[in-house]
Symmetry: C2
Subunit: 362 residues, 2 copies
């Protein structure tokens, strides 16, 4: 049972449900439907609540038989465009994204997946699905490639300035994600800083490090890590504020892009190098796929009363299917329960009083 | 005439002098002497004030005839180790690094180059050479590769937290560097942020952007740039606080390292890929050299009353020679005069009163 479901709305649910925004993203609903068709194979026990223009979806659905077998359609009269401001999106109470969030808030679904507008998505999630009790601020997380495997990094931009408590919460959520989605039994956690020594950085970072060291996560806390540790895979989780995380994510992606650009120039030098390219092409393509930021496609908004996964707006069907996989992993591996348990163990869980306040203020 | 030289100590100087710390770095003095020998060819008119263990240097010098022709040796009784704390280094008044800084402070040399301890170097530079009037905080700058050419980024860790005024000063210093060393007539300046839109980021960034837009640098100010713009070469100068800059620099280097690691695995797959490697090896080696962070070897401490260049501690002779080239470019192209002119044009130059205060407080 997902504890984020309000007690009074729990009904017998034989399987997990994802609410999917069929209208979000550059190529909706085609890639959404195509992605769900691919994902249906991998999650035959799931139920999909497909939300969007009902007439359009009913016309398309026959082309996606596996999806059709496990989906219900819910009509949404409007949708949120990619460039709509969050405040405008918030007023659109019948948008496909809003109805998907409502389904999670009302306990009909355990998670939502959308390839739509991420600013609107974060704002709606905070207001409709609401922040999990004990978490001060939801964060944006993503998976990055490293020399030793996948690395979860957060926050990536949901909170530009963060205090020590926020960073500790990010560590809790990053650890839960690495367990649920990457399948690591005991993920190692690093706090991003300008040096590995204990005295580096500002007071806020040192406080967060002290809290983590003294907590139940202590044995898994590696200490401070530096920028190059992200791709070295020194730790499985990299915790940072949203400003630094956003810059680091984009800088790393940019550097890999530069490497491929230069590599292309090298291979195009002459006939011999072109022949060289033909010999290594399959390996190069695997390499490019492996470091593609869209492999785990998109980002997760974590710290909410439900699973919220944002697929890349320009993703293809395979990309959207990956986002569905991540959401299903988070739901079936009880990502939010793992966070709640850690918060309790660390003395960060809210009291009954605070729970009421959180619910009413939202 | 370098205006950083106090008026009462100006003597007729037929050529520029660099004070070189012969004892700093992992392989001193060998790579220092080897590097200077290489650089001597490129700067025949320069004078080198070589500071270190006099007996040792006199014994070695005959092996470096070109350097011998343009160098004077000054004895230093001690040297600063790579792991010495800045506060300890500060008490060592006869170290080779200290005497090199003294030479600049006393107007005997226009710049200092060392492959030694960077923390000690920055601390000593601030106290001995002193911050330039009008500059609030010296910064650390370095050159990075991009798809469109070289990009200067600063600050890289000298100031973890920065205000809008600091960022504006970094833009001034970055522009002067791009002119003096990269030879760009009108460098484009970007302010690192989490999005390109004017409303992104915090108040401090928006204030800095407004100041730059309204200043003499306005036409060269591109606005906000994101992490991926660093390697895309969207601007020639990327301005950021020391925390973000340090993380971005190391993240970018780490990502390029990951790309080479994966590439190596691709080439080692089988006999055909090994043959492919042989065909592209020359190009790959040029590519690796080109993106090597040590091509411009090391970092510049800017905003001081003299040129201060830090060569990488583990650099080879060619690397140390590059650091000498950068220092010579900064000196001969009047890097500090360019900063002073901009500060005046932007109304940031100190008044006569402030000048006196700055000098006495140091």
């Amino acid at each position: 049972m997902d504890m984020s479901v309000p007690a009074d709305s729990v009904t017998f649910a034989p399987r997990y449900t994802l609410a999917v925004d069929a209208m979000g993203g550059d190529n909706a609903p085609d890639i959404v439907l195509g992605g769900l068709e691919l994902a249906a194979d991998r999650h035959p026990g799931a139920r999909i609540l497909l939300i969007g223009d009902e007439a359009l979806l009913r016309r398309q659905l026959p082309h996606y038989p596996k999806l059709a077998a496990l989906c219900d359609i819910r009509h949404a009269a409007s949708s949120i465009s990619m460039d709509m401001k969050p405040t405008t999106a918030l007023r659109l109470r019948d948008s496909s994204l809003r109805l998907a969030m409502d389904a999670v808030a009302q306990g009909e679904a355990q998670g939502v997946v959308s390839a739509g507008n991420s600013g609107a998505m974060l704002t709606l999630a905070k207001i409709v699905i609401k922040t999990m009790p004990g978490i001060t601020r939801p964060a944006m997380a993503a998976v990055n490639p490293s020399a030793r495997g996948d690395v979860v990094m957060l926050d990536l931009g949901a909170n530009l300035a963060c205090d020590a408590r926020n960073l500790v919460e990010f560590a809790v959520m990053g650890e839960a994600f690495a367990k649920a989605v990457l399948g690591l039994p005991s993920p190692r956690i690093g706090l991003l800083n300008v040096g590995a020594e204990e005295l580096k950085g500002d007071e806020r970072l040192r406080q967060a490090a002290d809290s983590l060291r003294d907590s139940v996560l202590g044995p898994q806390f590696h200490g401070f890590v530096e920028g190059h540790d992200i791709t070295a895979g020194t730790t499985d989780v990299v915790v940072t504020d949203g400003f630094t995380g956003n810059v680091a994510l984009k800088t790393g992606e940019g550097a890999l892009k530069l490497a491929f650009l230069l590599l292309k120039r090298v291979f195009q030098t002459n006939l011999l190098t072109r022949l060289g390219y033909l010999l290594v092409r399959p390996g190069l393509e695997r390499m490019r796929e492996w470091i593609d930021p869209r492999r785990y496609n998109g980002a997760m908004f974590v710290g909410l009363n439900g699973v919220v996964v944002k697929s890349h707006g320009g993703a293809d069907a395979e990309g959207f299917a990956s986002a569905v996989d991540v959401a299903m992993d988070m739901v079936t591996h009880h990502f939010n329960d793992a966070i709640r348990l850690r918060l309790e163990q660390m003395g960060l869980a809210p009291t009954q009083n605070e729970l009421v306040t959180t619910d009413s203020v939202g």
